[in-house]
């Protein structure tokens, strides 16, 4: 009788231990699954933002008087962008000392809104073909090959 009672107690203890361990495992697994799910949702939102953010280098011009190259970049997406977070790369190198201005924006707010154009001005004094890349928020970018002829004040986007 005492032996059977002891067995029942041992079984109960083992069962409770198994239940606690299973609960711990399931709850930690659930947390991990939840984290994976949240990460997937965040990634999808990021991709969606990236897809809804389209910028395009529309045109470029060379101003012979100020020796500046002017790039016109338009926001074709439907997200608001901060123009000050825009950077310019020329042949892969970061171009510093650029001036960004909003041009022909349909609204009065000082932000790079959809259908709004920014002009990027940078000093320039060399001829030839260059790969330029404009990178904005969410990592959205546009890369174009441009041809610059300083003496003729010509800049063409290929």
């Amino acid at each position: 009788m005492r032996g059977q009672f002891a067995t029942i107690i041992v079984n109960i203890i083992l069962f409770i231990s198994a239940a606690i361990l299973t609960y711990l495992f399931v709850s930690s697994s659930y947390n991990s699954l939840n984290n994976i799910n949240n990460a997937a949702i965040s990634r999808q939102e990021l991709i969606s933002n990236k897809l809804n953010t389209i910028i395009q280098i529309d045109s470029c011009a060379y101003d012979n008087s100020s020796r500046n190259l002017i790039l016109y970049v338009k926001n074709y997406g439907n997200t608001l962008l901060n123009q000050s977070n825009t950077v310019l790369f020329v042949n892969g190198y970061l171009k510093e000392n650029i001036t960004i201005n909003l041009v022909q924006c349909p609204n009065e707010i000082n932000i790079w809104a959809p259908n709004c154009i920014i002009s990027i001005n940078t000093s320039w004094n060399s001829n030839g073909y260059y790969y330029i890349k404009v990178v904005s928020e969410y990592g959205v970018d546009d890369q174009k090959l441009i041809f610059v002829n300083v003496s003729s004040s010509i800049c063409l986007v290929q």
Binding site: T7, T22, L33, I36, I47, Q56, D58, I70, Y72, Q104
Partner: protein
């Protein structure tokens, strides 16, 4: 007897653990596949919509001569999509230029409908006189239409 019960308990316990691991694996794979599918679907839809809009746009230029005092360019919508010229952008010699337009309306709406013509009058600030000028007209969705026009 006790050892048999212990073995039973341990097999129950291990089967619960294994089943939990199996469920965890299944749900993980489900989330990954669902997420990848949703991403691909969103990307595909966005790209197809963008290119569909662009493929329906076609603007042709009807003149290649104009004058410095009142420069203009005549365009015709040869695509199969109405165009809103309000959001079009005009670049003359690469420089963003202000313009206004006048549509020869065949149908009373303010859009440039397929087949209709419009005259675009633009500023002469960036024009090179007695020379060929490079004109770019860029649509609302970013399609470029390029031409040269001689301004005397």
């Amino acid at each position: 007897m006790l050892s048999t019960m212990k073995a039973d308990l341990s097999s129950i316990f291990s089967s619960i653990v294994v089943f939990s691991i199996f469920l965890f694996g299944i749900f993980t794979i489900k989330y990954i596949i669902e997420s990848s599918y949703n991403n691909l679907y969103t990307i595909g839809l966005s790209i197809s919509e963008r290119y569909y809009e662009k493929s329906r746009e076609l603007i042709i230029f009807k003149n290649n001569l104009s004058n410095y005092e009142n420069p203009y360019i005549i365009i015709q919508n040869k695509g199969n999509k109405p165009e809103d010229l309000n959001c079009y952008k005009l670049y003359v010699n690469g420089i963003l230029t202000n313009f206004y337009y006048n549509i020869s309306k065949l149908y009373p709406v303010d859009l440039l409908l397929p087949g209709e013509e419009a005259i675009i009058y633009f500023e002469n600030s960036s024009i090179r006189k007695d020379s060929w000028n490079f004109v770019q007209l860029i649509s609302c969705s970013g399609t470029k239409f390029l031409t040269l026009i001689y301004i005397s």
